[in-house]
């Protein structure tokens, strides 16, 4: 018999012992081979984990039988894959946080780069620009995207030719490179305002070209999740279709819609290329999105890094602080989305 129900399985203490001995073996190997030079901690941990895995699976095969050994091997592989996926993410956040914290001070959030050479200065102009441009992009994209998805789900139900065409166009738009969106906005605004136009609003238009398809796609999925039975229940009560959509479909899916919109905002807030073209860059404050160049955080980071001045370290520190600020803004948006969708979640479905 391969495996008997009463056969004892490996206890947690044995697993811990195996882990410790794996690490010890790995350290011993490293100490012997690296005689004299310094021991690489990361290398020891990775080799130790591999030894631990081999030991566990081997012991499991010998005492627990083949099925449980295979289960442990697979669980180990899946956990390692998860760990691998996590490494770049943790490393990125760690790098940005440690390098960004140097200039993450009050001056950074209270002054622009006007007349600053070398150390000092701040990114207030870029933060204002990013917030204004993203807000305008959201104001343009959310109504268009939401209404398009309502059309596709509620009115294009018969999969008519027009709704298929819209769906295809949205798919194509999802794949547009962001630089193309920037060129599009630049070309369009040049027609109205003459060549060489730069303004924050044009940047917002470029971003909404990128944002609309994301909003349409995510909202469409969320609206399709609303059970048809709820629409029928409402219609059968003599409620017109538009009120059914407004007062039954949208409230039921509002949590998902908000999450989708926040993801779309996070997607465009870090765009650099289109803003570099149409919003340009400047060292000064500019609160007016309809006039003159406007700095944004991604462009600020790019600019600080690419054209370092006399005191190179001061420019690099500002670039990292700008990156950290951008990540924090995105994280706050995601946090806000979670809170909103939790508050608005339909009650009682447990």
């Amino acid at each position: 018999m391969a495996s008997h129900p009463t056969r004892p399985s490996l206890s947690r203490w044995i697993i811990i012992a195996l882990f410790v001995s794996g690490m010890a073996m790995s350290y011993a190997i490293a100490a012997v081979t690296a005689s004299g030079s310094e021991v690489n901690v990361l290398g020891v941990v990775v080799v130790g984990l591999v030894i631990f895995g081999v030991l566990t699976v081997g012991l499991s095969w010998a005492t627990e039988g083949r099925r449980k050994a295979v289960n442990r091997a697979m669980a180990g592989l899946i956990t390692s894959a998860f760990g691998l996926a996590l490494i770049p993410l943790v490393s990125l956040v760690w790098t940005v946080a440690t390098l960004g914290v140097a200039r993450f001070d009050s001056q950074f959030f209270s002054s622009s780069m006007r007349n600053v050479v070398g150390a000092g200065g701040g990114a207030l102009h870029a933060i204002i620009g990013t917030l204004e441009i993203t807000l305008i992009a959201a104001l343009i994209s959310i109504p268009i995207g939401l209404l398009t998805s309502i059309y596709l789900v509620e009115y294009g139900r018969g999969r008519n030719r027009f709704s298929r065409w819209v769906t295809t166009m949205v798919d194509v738009m999802t794949g547009i490179p962001s630089i193309v969106a920037g060129l599009f906005a630049f070309a369009m605004f040049s027609l109205f305002f003459g060549p060489g136009v730069r303004m924050g609003f044009a940047g917002a238009v470029a971003l909404s070209v990128l944002m609309i398809p994301v909003v349409v796609r995510s909202s469409e999925e969320m609206l399709r999740l609303v059970p048809n039975e709820l629409r029928e229940a409402s219609l059968a009560l003599g409620v017109p279709k538009w009120l059914t959509i407004l007062r039954v479909v949208l409230p039921t899916s509002v949590g998902g819609l908000v999450t989708g919109i926040m993801i779309a905002i996070a997607r465009v807030i870090g765009e650099t290329a289109p803003l570099l073209i149409v919003a340009g860059f400047t060292q000064s404050m500019n609160y007016n999105p309809f006039n003159e160049r406007m700095m944004t955080l991604p462009v600020f980071v790019y600019n600080s890094y690419s054209s370092q001045g006399m005191d190179a370290q001061a420019y690099l520190d500002r670039a990292w602080a700008g990156a950290l600020t951008l990540i924090i803004i995105v994280m706050l948006l995601n946090l806000g989305a979670r809170i909103v969708s939790r508050v608005l979640r339909p009650a009682g479905n447990h």
Binding site: L237, G238, V239, G348
Partner: protein, 259 residues
Amino acid sequence: MGKIIELDRVNVFYGSFLAVEDVSLTIEPQTVTAFIGPSGCGKSTLLRTLNRMHEVIPGARVDGEILLDGANLYDDDVDPVSVRREVGMVFQRPNPFPTMSIRDNVLAGYKLNHDRLSKSDEDEIVESALKSANLWKEVKNRLAKPGGGLSGGQQQRLCIARAIAIRPRVLLMDEPTSALDPISTQAIEDLVSQLKKDYTIVIVTHNMQQAARVSDRTAFFNIAGEGEPGKLVEFDDTSVIFSNPSKKNTEDYISGRFG
């Protein structure tokens, strides 16, 4: 009070597919009429044409006449929305609105339409609808709680309360107990018997015992085969259908030889 429903040579199509062919029957006011028959025979489809809910499905259309107290539901100037206020509907699976409390679910027909009611009118409607649906005692102390927290049978009675709160004349029930346990089924069946003194009720059911228990008249539908339209085979008093049907086909179905 309930209304009389007359169907005259009704055909129902999905696109070019004929789903129900040539049905003529008369449903008397304040009676319970059961539609029975095998799956796919068009009984639910026909039920939905009685309040124009079939129009929700793209391509569905009706020809022939359906008269509600003599007025054709399909006249050009008839608004399907107003038809549905006269002819309420209860569905197979309980579908209370998850975003609303029990109280708001009962009032949904008014609230969703922005109808303004005084607080006392609202209270009165909620209480009388829930009492009619035999649910008042169970929920009167938790009207502000969400409707989704009730048991399946209670949810279905909540849906019935919601349907009758807007005071329709006719109540359509599309297999209202097929998702419920026997005790909840019993509660709904008792309720149907009480409601018939105020409403004309049409109930679609797969359960022949249920048809025999609750209905006054029974219509048996059948299809000749896959892709064929459903037809009305026999329509008579329930006692006659279940004891002495005139068609061989009906007898075979009733006695469980097919379907």
